[in-house]
């Protein structure tokens, strides 16, 4: 196995709001190795973005606060380091790509300038060199005619090209870890395919670890090696990609898979949505956050305490009170899994 880059243990980030405490991330643990892509999957409010921002201590404080856990970057706990040091980590060791390429570039500066700034901030490079590197990076992420494009402003770039520019900025300091927060959500599907390819190439070239935050299980299936499924601030299931898709153990994971219309299936099956509405983050039960919508829950256990992680396969853990054998038989009754278990 490649070098362990990031080891997150029991991370909890809470928001103190006027209405009460929002436990946005609640005891989340995962690891990331070199050349590995971890997908963090969840719907809005699942805490996936906050979890990622917490890694870089980018959660606005107040109201947000990392209340518990360890964020070990090659053994060094990022919760303990000074503000000065964490700034050096940002961009240098861990870089981030955001969802909205329309707003994450500053409209009044030239694209090349913004990349060059990032380079000069972290590396001892002259302005000339930084601009030259910026042009090289733009070419590397597939922007044609990069030499002249560095002198353009963001409004002259299309959505896909801005996202490429963001990637160029992110890789400018050879980071070990690339966090991509919904990098393709705002893009059209043909552009999404291009961007996924760029991320993949950059990962191969720099041997970095990638954390991909998304709600799209299709994108996850395409590039992730490991998946962590989040719901209501908790990790409900994690495991290697094939385990999550072909041997899912948590009812929420089944629900997600069953909710998706499939392009590749010939017969039209009726979707099996998850019942109910997303949880109110101010009123999460002390136990399993999914317990109101699950359909298999045990009222005297599930909402009251969160189960420990049960290992159900190689590197595959699930947090669910339903006994293993009951889970497997319940799953085989679901339409999507009947079709697959042939």
């Amino acid at each position: 196995m490649d070098e362990l880059l990031l080891d997150v243990q029991d991370l909890s980030t809470h928001f103190m709001t006027h209405a009460g405490v929002v436990k946005a991330v609640n005891g989340v643990s995962f690891t990331l190795h070199r050349n590995e892509t971890v997908g963090i999957v969840g719907e809005s409010g699942s805490g996936k973005t906050v979890a990622a921002l917490s890694l870089l201590r980018l959660v606005p404080d107040p109201p947000g606060k990392i209340v518990e856990g360890k964020i070990l970057l090659k053994g060094r706990d990022l919760r303990e380091v000074s503000n000065e040091e964490i700034r050096a980590v940002r961009g240098n060791d861990i870089a981030m790509i955001f969802q909205d390429p329309m707003t994450s570039l500053n409209p009044v500066f030239k694209v090349g300038m913004q990349i060059a700034e990032a380079i000069m901030l972290h590396q001892d490079k002259s302005r000339r060199d930084a601009w030259r590197i910026a042009a090289e990076l733009l070419a590397k992420v597939g922007i044609p005619d990069a030499e002249s494009r560095v002198n353009q402003y963001p409004f002259e770039f299309s959505g896909g090209m801005r996202q490429r520019a963001m990637i160029a900025m992110a890789i400018s300091c050879n980071p070990d870890i690339l966090i991509a927060d919904e990098p393709t959500t705002a893009l059209d599907v043909t552009i999404q395919a291009q961007i996924i390819d760029v991320v993949r190439e950059m990962q191969a070239q720099y041997n970095s670890g990638v954390i991909l935050i998304t709600h799209d299980l299709g994108v996850v299936a395409e590039i992730a090696d490991k998946v962590m499924v989040m719901y209501g601030g908790r990790t409900v299931e994690y495991g290697p990609i094939d385990e999550i898709f072909y041997n899912p153990h948590h009812p929420y994971t089944w629900g997600l898979l069953g909710s998706l219309p499939r392009l590749d299936l010939v017969e039209k099956e009726r979707l099996t949505p998850i019942k109910g509405q997303p949880p109110d983050l101010l009123m999460l039960p002390p136990g399993c956050p999914f317990s109101g919508r699950c359909g298999y829950e045990r009222p005297d256990e599930c909402p009251l305490t969160m189960p420990d992680t049960e290992i159900v396969g190689p590197e595959h853990g699930v947090r669910c009170w339903i006994p293993n054998d009951e889970r497997v038989s319940a799953r085989s009754a679901l339409p999507r899994f009947v079709a697959r278990s042939k």
């Binding site: 719907e43 809005s44 299309s158 959505g159 896909g160 090209m161 059209d188 599907v189 043909t190 552009i191 999404q192 395919a193 291009q194 996924i196 390819d197 709600h215 799209d216 299980l217 299709g218 994108v219 996850v220 299936a221 395409e222 990609i241 094939d242 898709f245 072909y246 629900g255 997600l256 898979l257 069953g258 909710s259 998706l260 219309p261 499939r262 392009l263 590749d264 010939v266 039209k268 009726r270 979707l271 099996t272 949505p273 998850i274 019942k275 509405q277 997303p278």
Partner: protein, 346 residues
């Protein structure tokens, strides 16, 4: 005559610049699309942002005036309808919007939002309208006590249900669904899709289903129109389109959709299109797709190929490409009234 017949519909927005507001160009948002919908079916329109699909919806409903072309609904020319006729047509044709946060008036109670169309058309007494609102709420899976609340008290999925209830209030026959689920979370998306399917069965609705998500369109639609830069590039029944796409753009689009199945993903061949969609203010001459097309040849730069049936991928399968993919072994059928001889085989 079909239930809804769209013929050569165009919508060009003028671009005005300077203090004198001179027209210096046009956005060719919709540039000659044609299709028809039969009663009770779902016709999907897919395309990427800027392809004109949402503009088309608004022109069909005459929320925007068309630049050219006709829309005939049940024998009535919508584009030429008088004020009074239009008012009647509005009862039959409704729309569901994409953004459940923007499509409900934040200052109105749900009761008034759903009851508004009834008041506009002066249907029933206030008491009857109240009753109808409650019925509608229950139809879409909400309940009577939700009537007194304001939109901000609901989640995205619930708001979308309110939008559906409002669209149903006048007992319409045609509902245009403009990206009805793309703003919703995965689990909620499935709820709304199922709701729309149930309502179609219950009320014999006809849907024009607009989306950028091909998986959703395939799931919901009987036939699909593929749009690119304001033009129709392909029309086919949904199974056939996904099985035997003929237009290179459709093929690329289909192959770009990630499939939530790692095994399938590993074995897939992807066509990654290069470049971006050109600006609709300066659509390329000839075939609008030719700058990104791998099959493009000289002829493609001269004229937009006509939308026609090649006959080998299904009788109702229309494609606008000089070099459309041909399928062997599929029984050749002549499309009635269509000249298939012109499209050169590849």
């Amino acid at each position: 005559m079909s239930f809804l017949e769209v013929r050569d519909l165009k919508k060009h927005f003028p671009i005005r610049t300077g203090i004198l507001k001179r027209t210096t160009g046009h956005v060719y948002a919709v540039d000659g699309i044609s299709f028809s919908i039969e009663e009770g079916e779902t016709l999907g329109i897919v395309g990427e942002s800027g392809c004109g699909k949402s503009t088309a919806a608004r022109v069909i409903l005459r929320l925007l005036e068309a630049t050219a072309g006709s829309v005939v609904y049940d024998g009535i020319d919508v584009m030429k309808a008088s004020r009074v006729e239009m008012q009647r047509l509005r009862r039959d044709m409704q729309i569901i919007f994409q953004d459940p946060y923007a499509s409900l008036n934040p200052r109105m109670r749900v009761r008034n939002i759903i009851g508004e169309p009834l008041r506009i058309h002066q249907i029933g007494t206030p008491a009857e309208r109240r009753q109808r609102v409650i019925e509608l709420l229950e139809t879409v899976g909400l309940n009577a006590e939700h009537a007194e609340r304001y939109p901000h008290e609901f989640s995205g999925g619930q708001r979308q249900r309110i939008g559906v209830a409002r669209a149903l209030a006048l007992n319409p026959r045609l509902i245009i669904c403009d990206e009805p689920v793309s703003a919703l979370d995965v689990s909620i998306r499935a709820q709304v899709i199922n709701l729309l399917e149930d309502l179609q069965d219950e009320f014999k609705l006809t849907y024009l289903f607009i989306a950028h998500d091909l998986s959703v369109v395939k799931h919901t639609s009987d036939r699909v129109v593929v749009m690119y830069l304001g033009k129709t590039v392909e029309i086919a029944s949904s199974d056939v389109l996904y099985d035997r796409p003929q237009h290179p753009y459709t093929e690329a689009l289909l192959s770009a959709v990630p499939i939530p199945d790692p095994e399938t993903e590993r074995n897939r061949r992807r066509i990654v299109l290069e470049g971006d969609v050109p600006s609709p203010t300066k659509p390329p001459a000839g075939c609008v797709f030719h700058p990104r097309c791998q099959r493009a040849q000289e002829v493609c730069e001269t004229a937009m190929p006509p939308l026609e049936c090649t006959g080998d991928a299904g009788a109702d399968h229309m494609v606008a490409c000089y070099f459309a993919t041909r399928y062997e072994g599929v029984p050749q059928r002549d499309a009635p009234g269509k000249d298939t001889g012109e499209a050169p085989a590849r």
